[in-house]
Amino acid sequence: MNGFMQRLTQAWDWFLFESCNPRIIPILRIGFALLIVIQSLIVWSDAAYWYTDDGVMRSQTAREIIGSGAWSLLYLLPSEPWVAQAGLICLTAHALLLLVGFYSRFQAAAIFVWLVSFQNRNPLITDGEDTVFRIFAFLLIWLPLDAYWSVRSRTRNQVPNPEPTSADAWALRLIQIQMTCIYASTALSKWEGSTWQDGSAVWYVSRMTDNFGRLMPAAWLDWPGASTLATYGTLAVESFLPIGLWIPKLRWVAILLGLLLHLGIESSMNLFLFQWVMLLGLISFVQSPPKKIKLFWNYFG
């Protein structure tokens, strides 16, 4: 029994501490920070509208909708426009400091607190992307974010861990698990739907005219076989990703398919930043570039 537990712990240790690539962490940090800045700036003009009692939802109603156990700094502060705006300024400032890599773990923690606070203050305006942002913010706290491409890394002695190893990048594994759960959850849900089984689901999605038709007109899906191909293609890719992303030989194929899936949705639907934060999550699976890309990079770089 002891031997079994020891082997299990060794396997868990290998999974967590010996196989992640810390060089991609700054890409996550910068990408995440940029998306938070965009999100904050977009909501700025509506701060009072969404997040005060003078706006569309009273604090009391928000608490009733979201239920017990949820928390928000905005429940504790006066429900005034200047408070909501000050909160957004703080969120933006933390995101900008995260972007440049200045005490980034603290910035990620502060961003997490503000995201939870704003999302719980008005749960009716949030969707999947907000969930991903919130959970990524929490997971970024545990990564050595300032090690590369940061203000602090320019003076190496300021960073507590200037050369992080795989052991320091263990939270990347949790981001990968999070991404896998999203793809697996949506694939399992879709397999139960009759329209996903008969190949017509994307045709119906294309008729959601409020959201659909960004760059790709809905009429394109009237071409013979187009909506069937798109439906089964989506189902196949979302079913493949939770497995393919974990098999080293298939990982690049899976990342590429994920990229195509998200860019396809981005070009056809208006879903704000959801596809971009998911692409950021896919980057967490990058171990090292394939040989051909390395050769290309070495040759031209």
Binding site: T61, R207, D210
Partner: protein, 192 residues
Amino acid sequence: MKKNAIRTLAFVFCVFVVIDTIPESYQFASLPKAWVHPILKSLGLSQGDWPLFAPNPTLNNGVLVAELTDHTGNPATWTSIDWQTASVWTKFHRFRHMNYLQRIPNNHVAAIDFADYLLRAIPEQESAKGSIRWTPDNQMLEPAPILAPIRDIKLYKYRNTMVLEEGQALPAFDQIPWSTQINFIVRRESQP
């Protein structure tokens, strides 16, 4: 010590996230989900399952319409953004409005707050069109201006749905017969 804490934290996170994201339709998971979700919620880490147009896409096209009367008795109409005609930029920067307006009809307490907001905000912050009765005397008149405060308001969802017969082949985009269903949401009166 630190390594053990990380091992445990990571293990617990993985187990909780896996349970929390199991689709709602999987009955065997309902008990552990009911146990895990509140814990994650109190930590700010709850998520639930990820249907994303599953099990089947639900059409939710339409607008919210408010019929209101100002304090002089003039009727007027407020209409939410028509997303079908909105630009890509409007759909991007007002994306949260789309989420909100699509969910209002399914959430009575939020609908009450929204109707109360419109009572306060029309005509200064939200614009509404005054309407006139079409009698032979006044059909050339401009609608009367709306004067605050608004006396009462009735909120409706005008939902655009496709009319498809069972067994019918899926029609091309420009041949879809659309019909509009009007659902009453809530009525509110201004408090003196």
